[in-house]
Symmetry: C2
Subunit: 742 residues, 2 copies
């Protein structure tokens, strides 16, 4: 019974109202916004009455026990700071670790009477404090009122009560506000919010109930307390090192680390979970997706920021990010790993930087790195897209992994360098090192990716005329050649390859690879028989600017004469294995008698490669060829890292805490060309905050000398670290050790 007069009918809807769309709210979706910033706070009220106001208003709660002061820090000899191993933090506030008792002093207006006075110390974090979420935690002194945060009276003296407080070993990590609440028959009266009573609670590798518990004091001293790191780079048979100042205890660094989590909008309630914290941080350390800390740049053009090779420590980067609230330019893998390490050590999660030599990349759980040759055995650069990084740095952090079955706790790989894909976001890990070793790829997070980085085969394919590829050689041992980290408590390197892989060729290794295949890792199935001619390239140590005689040895293991038509190619490559330019190409034809070997010498003048050099000065030699008699393919690869000149650092003065000292850096231009736009940096853990200096020009053979005064802040062994960086010459470092007396 339609009555057209009552309505206007139309098949097109009216246009929506003009103006900007309203912001979508959570109304109807959730009862309240989720707390996801440690900076947001909601103060709890000073008075909470239990009774309605009487005719003369509320009774004055001040008639009851009153709090005169709360002393968070001034216990004799910084007792909390020493026992919690937080004494190195350059911070006024109290910093403690969870699952371990700390003490505070409460000064009342009269002596505390246990029988009649009731009070609680309350800890609050984030904007919607709630007991059941762990964001509001009251702590009591009486035995029958204990929560998961334990409290007890350790001393009373006149009006002063000393209270021991043990936060839950699983509690949220971050910055808390503290209140003292006195409960009276009429209501609650609490202290006002007082910034000086804010305290930081961190992860605790010393507490057996904390998931990051690490039962080895040498490891804890290294992986939590040490600000000075050594990062390995270069090439597998010529390993170089750089010193790095993690600076995790420097002023402002702890707040910057909490800011990183805030910026990621990580819910406060998840911040007690080490697995979630490290996963979130692996995403936030790079700027992809989420405006994170560091912008990656591998292009060689760093005009708009600091060259990745120029940084000497993390402090500058973290403080700049927190103050500018913008991503910092620029990083490559070791910068990501080093800054991530600062973050982890700062929050109390044991961590270390590791370097994997010949790291397979971007092949996404596929255990093959493909090199395509043409029908004559020459590399087809247009078709070869995979690359093997000369080295790649990532982090390991230590935790129990309660989310996995037993056996997969311990060291976990996390990686903040933005890779091609890691489950749709630029992040990686935590992946259990033990799971990787045993091919248990089914456990989160990203184990197949890391497994491929250390276990990929290099497969050489010959590309047929019809576009098909035939595998002609499979190299099982090139990738993941060696994995290294700094030895705890020492200045040497420690090989940890055996924690990632069983021995090459062992039964266990085969079992693991089969296991990995069950979980969908794809390997090259064919195993073409090895040629009976071997190619050998020797290890080479070479300073930048030197000439080189490359010796290519052809070894004939057969009983017949063999002739090899070879292609010898020399390229300047980025450390990512990506080719910049080919500076050498030869096509020798070599004949080798039965069971003989022949050395083919190739002379390379420095000027042929010098003009092509990119920042890390790596030369990559690839020799491929086809044996005429058998049609078999022979290959050999060698990366030569050119050695840069060094900076010389001299430290003078009396090495004693707070005494003034002088560090002098000297550098002479050894080249025949000018160096322009030179940045120099210098810093030292616990001794010198980052300093830098700019020089516009350094002519050949002239020198620069830069001196800085500094006052060491604490006793022990430390180093002054300096870098020099300019577009024509990158990665020049120097360091000098000093032993500071107390």
């Amino acid at each position: 019974m339609s009555d057209p007069s009552t309505f206007v009918e139309s098949s097109a809807p009216p246009p929506p109202p003009s103006g900007p769309r309203p912001r979508i709210t959570n109304r109807g979706r959730t009862a309240g916004p989720a707390a996801n910033s440690n900076l947001d706070t909601s103060d709890i009220p000073e008075y909470e009455y239990f009774v309605a106001p009487g005719p003369r208003g509320y009774p004055p709660l001040t008639e009851f026990l009153d709090i005169v002061d709360v002393d968070m820090k001034h216990l004799p000899e910084g007792k909390n700071r020493i026992s919690h191993k937080t004494h190195l933090f350059n911070l006024n506030a109290l910093v403690v670790r969870r699952g371990q008792e700390f003490e505070i002093k409460i000064i009342f207006n009269r002596p505390y009477k246990p029988s009649e006075d009731k009070f609680a110390v309350e800890f609050v974090i984030g904007s919607s404090p709630q007991y059941s979420k762990g964001t509001y935690m009251p702590v009591f002194t009486s035995k029958d009122r204990q929560t998961s945060w334990k409290g007890r009276i350790t001393d009373t003296f006149e009006n002063t009560l000393t209270m021991g407080i043990t936060p839950d070993p699983n509690c949220i990590v971050g910055k808390y506000h503290m209140y003292v609440a006195v409960v009276t028959p009429y209501g609650i009266r609490r202290t006002k919010r007082e910034k000086s009573r804010d305290l930081y609670i961190l992860f605790n590798p010393w507490a057996a109930d904390d998931e990051v518990f690490l039962n080895d004091e040498t490891e804890r001293q290294e992986c939590v307390m040490n600000e000075m790191g050594i990062i390995y780079h270069g090439s597998y048979d010529d390993i170089a090192e750089r010193t790095w100042n993690f600076g995790q205890f420097n002023y402002g660094v702890l707040d910057a680390c909490l800011y990183i989590l805030d910026r990621s909008q990580m819910p406060i309630t998840n911040r007690g979970d080490a697995v979630k914290v490290v996963r979130q941080a692996s995403a936030m350390l790079n700027s992809r997706d989420d405006e994170g800390v560091l912008v990656g740049n591998w292009s060689g053009d760093y005009t708009y920021g600091v060259a990745p090779t120029s940084w000497t420590g993390s402090t500058d980067i973290l403080l700049t990010y927190a103050s500018s609230q913008r991503s910092v330019c620029y990083a490559q893998c070791w910068v990501y790993a080093a800054v991530f390490n600062s973050f982890l050590r700062c929050l109390g999660i044991p961590s270390r930087v590791v370097t994997n030599f010949f790291s397979a990349h971007d092949n996404n759980g596929n255990l093959k790195t493909d090199i395509i040759l043409d029908e004559n055995g020459r590399i087809d650069r247009g078709q070869t897209k995979d690359s093997i990084w000369n080295y790649h740095c990532w982090n390991e952090c230590y935790m129990a992994r309660k989310d996995l079955p037993a056996g997969f706790g311990g060291w976990q790989v996390v990686d903040a360098t933005p890779q091609e894909t890691s489950d749709g976001m630029y992040r990686c890990g935590p992946a259990s090192v033990n799971a990787i070793k045993h091919g248990q790829m089914c456990y989160p997070y990203d184990a197949p990716f890391v497994f491929a980085e250390v276990n990929s085969d290099v497969v050489f394919y010959m590309r047929g005329k019809d576009g098909t590829l035939e595998p002609v050689k499979v190299n099982h041992s090139h990738v993941g050649r060696g994995i290294f980290t700094k030895t705890p408590g020492e200045l040497t390197r420690k090989e940890i390859t055996d924690q990632y892989k069983f021995e090459e060729g062992s039964t266990e290794e085969r079992t693991v690879l089969e296991k990995a295949e069950e979980f969908g890792c794809k390997r090259e199935q064919s195993d073409p028989p090895p040629a009976d001619v071997d190619l050998v390239l020797p290890s080479v140590e070479l300073a930048v600017g030197q000439d080189l005689e490359l010796s290519v040895e052809f070894v004939n293991r057969s009983q017949q004469r063999r002739t090899v038509d070879a292609y010898v190619s020399g390229s300047v490559v980025y450390y990512t294995g990506v080719t910049s330019s080919e500076f050498l190409f030869r096509t020798p034809s070599v004949t080798i008698g039965p069971n003989k070997s022949v050395k083919e010498l190739v002379d390379i003048e420095a000027r042929s490669y010098m003009k092509h050099l990119v920042e890390q000065a790596n030369l990559n030699f690839i020799v491929t060829g086809k044996v005429k008699e058998t049609g078999q393919i022979v290959t050999a690869m060698k990366v030569v890292t050119l050695h840069n000149p060094k900076l010389f650092i001299k430290v003078s003065g009396v090495a004693r805490v707070s005494e003034e000292m002088l560090a002098t850096v000297q550098f002479t231009n050894p080249f025949t060309f000018n160096l322009e736009g030179i940045y120099m940096r210098m810093e030292g853990p616990g001794a010198m905050l980052p300093r830098f200096r700019y020089y516009s020009l350094l002519t050949p053979n002239s020198s620069l000398v830069w001196s800085e005064k500094f006052n060491p802040q604490r006793a022990g062994t430390t180093r002054i670290i300096a870098s020099l960086d300019c577009p024509a010459l990158r990665q020049v470092y120097g360091e000098e050790s000093i032993i500071v007396e107390p």
Copy 2:
């Protein structure tokens, strides 16, 4: 030897060049960009010569076998389309499923001679085709040249060759280009790119080697082929249903689904992996993080888009997203689940929409939903932040899960509704239903989250004066009360709760909960003894606008008299359990004799709730109270879904393919107030594309009548579905079944 004349020294670096920062490139990082769009293509050349040009240029390859035409589709009776179950796609191009043979015809310029003619059919996807990545696949007819895509000659007749091609059952899913390449002694000559030869390759639940293989024809017909869905909603004891047109075979929908993956920049090489495809899609179906398909809105204000309750199918949403390239407004959980289902069925992944009644939310692996009472037993709404959704819809999809140990394949939960947190992105799954049932929370992805949705306890806490919470009642059976989906091949619902959980109170259930706790799920440990007084609220069926007499029964199971001071609260709630407004509050005090029961009746007039109604018209009654004699807490909760008026649909005409029919929708305003701004929608799977109509006003007791002509496209049972939606009255549906004769 510093020589100051040669350089300018400064402690501040020069400012960086002005102007916009250059775009960071991949130079030095990767050898080439990753292919992540199915729309990007790089054509392969028409000629590839093996030899250098002679003095008269290249030899004319046209002297050899030449290709006159390639026929992709016109096999007798659409053989490929029928055998691949792709005949319903409203699309001109060939659509086939992987792991199963399809045929093409190649017409040469002369009869094909197997002994001398060599050719390959080449399939190419994405911008950097490569054999080893599966993005360039040549297919040969000769037995000794087979790749993982099999080829064979099935027929030859004069110049025409019919070739059978079987794509690898793990191949990339998407739109391929096809070429035919003839190999001559001088080079390769191939057909030019021809759009009509593009073809789509989909997942194949009918192929035993495909990871999405589903060995049940009834299930496959439902979960891949059926365009009509039924989605359950309402409340557990009064389940309602809505019909939905998934429309996965409609024109443009397949391209829209591929656009979704392109928009997410998912690497082409991952698109053969069902686990990765569904995970990526779960992130992309919502607009959070990634400008995905649908904007969530639970606020009740849908001025700037379409109300979630108004949609009747997915076609409109998917086509609008693909053409506007902007997120579509608005969705709530069933819209996300329905559109996700269209995506999955379209690509060939078996899937279904499931509804979980009383779904715990936002508690992040914590198995507790907290309700906070004050000391008198009354709900403290300021402190209660958790909510339980009356129902929540998600999807299940079927796959082998090769990435997990055996036993966790089969149905997998995926959920596109943006939740509070799922590993830092708004997405969820795939999580193995079997892993959830067995408490195996350690396997990816997001199993703890789904486990909590179906297994959380409701914990009632009493909040003490000092802010501490004491658990007073734990309800183990409220959450995850029933999980339902449509029965395959029928129009009824099927309960699948037993696929997610063991029986309440069974030994297996306890074991599973203990297992889940081992993996870090936190449960309430205390189990306060149940009170000896029970509260019972009856099931209520109520039409919107009706008065209601609520009967609250107090059952005293003790041998003593009991007095309960009760709070009866009635609120209008969103379907998310979030309270909009309280319309009823009573505080009866009830005395019950030993082993007796007392019914307390509460009269509720329609006008008390009508003015507060939000879209899905749910009333939530909560009764809490404290037993005076024992101090114990009693609680009861009941959600009443008000029944809306229905739309009446009449279909007339002869129901035969292509014959014109007429659908007439009629609605009378049963209320005493005007309905304004009315949207109506109508569509029918395989019968009518979405139509809509707008009415500005419908006065009380007046009616509207809307007729639309349509021509059914195919035989079988289908429905015409209509909805009416306006701010004052949402979620009014009607449908009418028709059986179309061939």
